[in-house]
Symmetry: C2
Subunit: 434 residues, 2 copies
Amino acid sequence: MSKSALISYFKSKTAEIGVIGLGYVGLPLVIRFSKEGFKTIGFDIDVEKVKKLNMGETYIKHIDSNEIEIAIKNGFRATTRFSEIANIDAILICVPTPLGVHNEPDLSYIRRTLESIKPYLKENQLLVLESTTYPGTTEEEIVPLIEEVGLKIGSNFFVGYSPEREDPGNKNYTTKTIPKVVSGFTKNCLNLTKSLYDQIVDQTVPVSSPRVAEMTKILENIHRAVNIGLVNELKMVAEKMDIDIYEVINAAATKPFGFTPYYPGPGLGGHCIPIDPFYLTWKAKEVGMNTRFIELAGEINTAMPGYVIQKVGEALNIAGKAIKGSKILILGLSYKKNVDDLRESPSLEIIDVLHEMGANVQFSDPFFDSIPPTRKHSLDLQAKSLTTKTIQSADLVLLATDHDQFDYELIQKKAKLIVDTRGRFKQSPNVIIA
Amino acid sequence: MSKSALISYFKSKTAEIGVIGLGYVGLPLVIRFSKEGFKTIGFDIDVEKVKKLNMGETYIKHIDSNEIEIAIKNGFRATTRFSEIANIDAILICVPTPLGVHNEPDLSYIRRTLESIKPYLKENQLLVLESTTYPGTTEEEIVPLIEEVGLKIGSNFFVGYSPEREDPGNKNYTTKTIPKVVSGFTKNCLNLTKSLYDQIVDQTVPVSSPRVAEMTKILENIHRAVNIGLVNELKMVAEKMDIDIYEVINAAATKPFGFTPYYPGPGLGGHCIPIDPFYLTWKAKEVGMNTRFIELAGEINTAMPGYVIQKVGEALNIAGKAIKGSKILILGLSYKKNVDDLRESPSLEIIDVLHEMGANVQFSDPFFDSIPPTRKHSLDLQAKSLTTKTIQSADLVLLATDHDQFDYELIQKKAKLIVDTRGRFKQSPNVIIA
């Protein structure tokens, strides 16, 4: 009875959904389930986040407070008490999977989550991991723990893996319209996982095992990391050949098959691209394999902030100035345009290094009033608004993130020197493409 | 007057067009110009090709004899006499640009062509190179030769570069519908080149210089070589993790943004992907740069035939057999499916090695009755038709190129052992994915 009962709870939208980890992935998921009429509970260890959510406030700019209020009206509330897991039908884990200092997978968030919920797991629950991770995680980390508790996976408890595909700031696709890959440890697990997500997304994509689903998500991110690494390398080659790489990429993009444009930049940011590929690198060593494309992409992409700083130095040098003592205005803090997401943003590293080298660093970003402290960086800077005066007073303007809100015409007109890492400006005597 | 006169010849389609090199690129170009009403002359050093064409016969399977007959009706003829260049308004060079034995660019076809036509160049001609090559070729190889002759580029003679984008066998795009990148040594050269191609393709894409156009074509091919190298590497990793890479790629392909599927295979073939990227590698050294993605892709893709042979050995070994003395049926000679194109085909290398190792090698390919001699290979084999008997009598069937004409159901049913390099079969006890 258990499996069919759960499926009918899902289909009738009477199942209670618990989402663990209320960040860029978990929060949109909560909102999506709420919109379809599910009662949802959000779990997080961050007391401040939980408070804000319960007051109907957002902490992610591209998610409107209004959406959280609607979710609350539909029964949503946030909590730090994991004992409430006992009342949940479907537990969805959306916690971070960062890298350790030696580029090794850090599964501590997943493991701590599992330890926290372990005492409250019970029969007829579905547990799905959404966090990006290496192939084998679901089978090696989750399955043994469920079995320890004495539950029988596939008959009275169900385990699935369904990778998140969130793309913060993407206006063309939403949680609902992005097809969702689903998998289960057993056939019953797959059926349940699929039937749950079928309620909230337009299309589910069932695959044969959690390891295939885990590898799928990693492949998507490896693909991006490698393609961006490739254009970053070619950007440096093209520059030496006096070729504008952006003109080349845009011309190649007119080929209607066999080519997809990727663009260079000042380095990788976000949770996915710079981090996830190394999960596979680490796991591949277990089977005696190397992932050389991932390592090469990592090496080149990691070197990009240094390349940008080198170009800044060269540009200032032409004007007879050193980095030390120069006023440098950084445009854009986020790791990609039009979002307020700072995770792994190369802007922070560039700011840190220029500051250490003695530059008088300023920044402007419509999404940030100041630089929030992150794990690696803690610079105390207030944002400048992008006025004629701010631009003119800088010895050099460095475009790090090309938010659409910036007034590029004004920048082009007023800046003494521009170092452009996004190809927004045409090459000219005072514009250096980096 | 010269420039505007030439443009009006182009627009009125009264200009006479000479195409040098009548292969996979030149022949479709001749046909395209003929269809638009231009009188065309085809130049080639291959007497046999010229004879065939003048009799209205084709030597490329995906180009119909009928098309050549129509071209002849519209005034087309082929010749080996380069003196006729003197009567031509637009000279389009479509000769091969292979690699030398040390992976260095071999521009000998271009250089010999230039030497052959040099005595016959005259005022008011447009010369366009279509061959894929490294950035700088047009400026460094063609421009000095024209200046030697005493012609003035941009005023009484015009030089352009417009890379071919032919994709033999592609049913969705033709020479006419594929946008064409055009460039010129001067502004007049660009205008003329654009105005010529505007008569025969739906869209031209003007870029600022020949070196940008040269780099564009190389980027398109680097993109493919690297993406295929990446999935080939991941195929080997996935195999060790017991993951079907094809299932993973197809699941990832459901992501509607940020991912484009590329598929692994037994190695690269064709003129573009295995060769062109190394043109940039070679040229980059001149400016002190390395192209590490290209070299890594080259290394991995070149190793794939060896990987396939290893899998063949492992598969036979399970059946207690050695490669030596086993009857191995290779399916598919061409480098890609549904075309009769053997250039750089990994099938040839695989056949050679298996033959040398003592296998009794047979092959089946609807596009070939026997193996034509190529630069590197000269094995005398007649094709087998793909019957139950042929399949059953083989100790192992190796799918090298997945032509749609093969009867996959029959192969699956009758083969003792299958090694599948194209993901056409589901993994099973007698199917090994390689």
